[in-house]
Symmetry: D3
């Protein structure tokens, strides 16, 4: 089985962290191809960025299809879950977002969950995703640790301590039972944090890899009945 994991950002450091997380999760026999965007924002964190990265994403998947790249499923590795609907039209192979995967996995492990977020502008995007995933009743809180992104990329002791403090507050003050780490740059922290707080901690990249494997293993494909039908080929694009 061959999965295409796309980091819809241009940060190479983040792409490496996502690749590492995906490879740890992959089953024996799953091939992981992990790429970042070639153009676009280093870290997409607003709706304008979302338009830019969505445009790149559809072109990457179209290129795969022109080249018959043979992927069995796609993972879009941004917690904003951009362009999922458009990609599900372009291919019938399963397309899986990391936020929706983490939200569905969380529902099996506890009643209320918290999302730990590193990009303040994504808060409304998360609320929309949680609503779309039908999990609004179960969201305890979205927490934003008062810390710079770069600290997490460098994995300092301070960053770790801040993460433990934030997760404990989510549990003790907000009633969270499961912690979801939002975004690729926290991907490496799930194991450490889970041990520290003795509660399940979800890394969306890992959840998405397992979800993609599961859908592909069962031979399931995206429904082409209506919402995700192939785009109409006859329409002329003036480009």
């Amino acid at each position: 089985m061959k999965l295409h994991i796309i980091n819809p950002n241009t940060s190479r450091r983040m792409t490496e962290m996502i690749r590492s997380s995906a490879e740890q999760a992959a089953a024996f026999g799953t091939e992981i191809v992990c790429e970042g965007l070639r153009r676009g924002p280093e870290y997409a964190d607003c709706a304008y960025d979302g338009v830019i990265v969505s445009h790149e994403l559809v072109q990457m998947v179209q290129a795969d299809m022109r080249m018959a790249a043979g992927y069995d499923a796609y993972v879009v590795a941004s917690f904003a879950d951009p362009a999922l609907d458009a990609l599900r039209e372009l291919t019938d192979k399963p397309v899986v977002g990391i936020a929706e995967s983490a939200l569905h996995f969380a529902s099996f492990l506890g009643y209320k969950f918290a999302v730990i977020n590193t990009l303040p502008r994504l808060e409304r995007t998360f609320e929309d995703e949680v609503r779309r995933a039908g999990a609004s009743d179960r969201l305890a809180v979205v927490k934003l640790p008062p810390y710079r992104v770069s600290s997490f990329l460098e994995s300092t002791e301070d960053a770790k301590a801040m993460l433990v403090k934030t997760a404990r507050e989510a549990i003790e003050q907000d009633g969270a039972e499961v912690i979801i780490l939002a975004g690729g740059m926290l991907a490496g922290y799930a194991g450490f944090l889970s041990a520290a707080i003795r509660a399940p901690v979800l890394d969306g990249v890992k959840c998405a890899v397992k979800m993609a494997e599961a859908l592909a293993a069962l031979g399931l494909t995206t429904s082409k009945i209506k919402t995700y039908a192939w785009p109409d080929a006859k329409k002329a694009y003036i480009k």
Copy 2:
């Protein structure tokens, strides 16, 4: 006051119908500049098209800003209301969609409304917009008249009869009290249809023009506090 009405499709016929509708609605002293996209689908009707037209839309508004075009407000004239969030980040001038405008206007005129739609694939998009506008309880039905788009563009007698029949069914069978015509290509039919069925019929383009005029006249601008804050200028785009 100067409004930029953008048809996020490339059909020139549709752009003319939208311009005509907007000019009829405009107050004395309102200048209407109405343009279609230069690239993209003739009629956008799926999520993939939405990605393409959103990308064009942000570039048009960015061009306006580089040229200090001096628009007082923007109207995006597609019933899919594409890219509104991104455009609200790029400018602080009011940005108004035609679907959201029609939905808000309808709430003053009756309890339940029907949407008459010409593009079957937009059904789910409409459901999302209705939910986003908080109008789910008031949506009686989305009706799709069994008719080709081209008939409406040519305004044949058959197309008119079909529209009356569809609206009457929405009223008699589904409990609608107000009719919303979705999409630019039905823009010219509101007056005719309202007279025929003796009920309010809303043309989203006209509603959006009045909404844009109202917001601009009151000197209101998009909040830059959080959701629609300016995109971070320091981020490097590798283009």
Copy 3:
């Protein structure tokens, strides 16, 4: 165009503030007729008051109709939006409430809004209106500044400082991006407050005037299909 703005309270000071706000918002060519109730509470703030002022409101509109007063639209200028359904039955001219207008306008300018309220007993009424307008997900908070109504009517420096403090808390602590000033007695403060906090501040009276103008300009009338059908004339009232 001729608008009848009715203050459903008997305070003349408040009627003057509403008139002033309405006249500032009115387009060139819009005639504003602004009246308070002749009987009833000085400030309606409970459900019992609502019954009294609703009874007065229907009589005022019935008097207009007997006299063929020729109004193009009505504005009910209380944040409790009383008797709107009954008035929409009595006339087919648009009837617009100031709370619903402000709620719909807010949705174009930001994601979350706060309502600043001066009458503590209206809190539940506001919650009902927000739900009816479909805006529950977007309400950040209803704030009640710890201050006497009379201070606002006299526009003291203390009142202004309190208003700025309250709005800032709504933004910083509750996540509001747009501020709605509830009630006629705050009508004069929108411009001052918006400049102070650098965020959009909505005066419901102004929003309602623009909404009434927009509906009337498009020739739209209340649907008589069902919910707002004319009251049955044959029924005998024993009076």
Copy 4:
């Protein structure tokens, strides 16, 4: 125990039917005082009527209080449940509506219920009441038998057959398990209909009488903490 049952209509025939139903439901020792309005519509069925009858209702309860009439609880016997909030402010004795009572009773007897309605214009009012009672998920259908009100008042065989047919359709086609008869004029039919369809049939008047007895027997009074606090006595009404 002494209950004041008020029919907020002027039809004497309907008041008699309500009195009969209330007396059948009353416990040993409960005194029923049942009155209709002296002024207002014979059958209130629209929002305008609602304003008129609400104004009468508050005056009746105010008269009771001036006369120290000594009622232990109030029942408002219209399926539109008018003026309940205002009456709960005027007295601390329990005030009970017949629609809300029937809705709460139904929830103990089955999962989905149908409302059989005789006044077509009340449909939206019922939807609001069902939402307010938190029973939206359980409403199977509101059915309107195609029959004149007068037939039910005369209790013809045709009216009975029509009622059975309507209830059976609600069960077989719409999934109803419990039938609620809306409005005083169907009050006498519950026993007959329940026997015919072998399912629980609720008469709102009887449910409200038992609810009022229960609240009064437990010595419970309306909370004066906030929503239903006494109207402010100091305010001057210019009458």
Copy 5:
């Protein structure tokens, strides 16, 4: 009339408190038979306990039916409202839970209510019950006084003071207008607490007794149409 009140716990002290509360609420002529479980947890407070006590409850009601015990209605006296659906299948006599009864009664007396809970693990169960009763919008808060269960069973002065403090916080900080005491062990405190805080306080056992009396007095039985149809007798149980 004969009511079977079942305490789905094995604590005899709690059964006595429930019996006392039920007897105080019972109308003249109502016979109260109050029993605890013979097997199972002293205080059920988790889902596993719920499975155990549900199994005991169905056996007790089956025993009643074998012995033709002749109960007119059943009350399940745990705030977790266990096994109500199953019991409604086994008998057509009304089956009433104490939590659902309190929730429905509260809606007649104020807008927002608080639940005072003594068993921390039941919080999610309460949330489910509140949602099932359609009362989510009206729940102000679930408060857990920082106190041991045994204190309440012994009715110490400290326990009383703690209860008053908790109720006052619910009113002043959370906007509650009505207080619901959750669970049998607080059953004796409603009168004391209501006098202390001058607001309605509901004892679920008393509400359930009145509800059961009301349903039985009106001759109402559980609908056997669908959800609560009798279990299929032909099925073989291998026991």
Copy 6:
């Protein structure tokens, strides 16, 4: 990895179908232990049955724990998803229901789904599960093919034709894009039906096996923070 698949019914034929389905879905290296109940109904289809099978389920898992059976995860293979909360308290190994698994998988493959159900009494249970899984907006319809359970167990041509007809109706009339087969006895039909209707068809048993494998592979365990904390061991059960 070792999964315990429990059929909470006593039908051996159904247990064999579930085992077959589970073994087809299992990854290389996953050991499937599939058992039915020893006591209880052949096919559980009502709330009373739910109480009985829940009691058996907790005993089976308790027996596993006494024997240190070493399962890595549990699957409860009834579409009613019984006792999941209780089992999640008894063990920290993932516990997965087949209905919730199918609902979560469906959300990746299409917007609206239909459930094909063979046991009419489970309709309300399904509605509860769909709500609990947050998927209410996406449920197109629950369809009940007019056919006897035994036909499906025997896999007759008539049963197959009926299934195709039912699925086509769900797609064409109700807007479904994905089909979920409810219950173990339809487990064998997913491949056949998917080929016939050219749309994804989900077998809950297979989805649950993949979900259990995914959770266990990532080393995730049920949160013991609050909702699913271990039952309190000190409590005495009088048995």
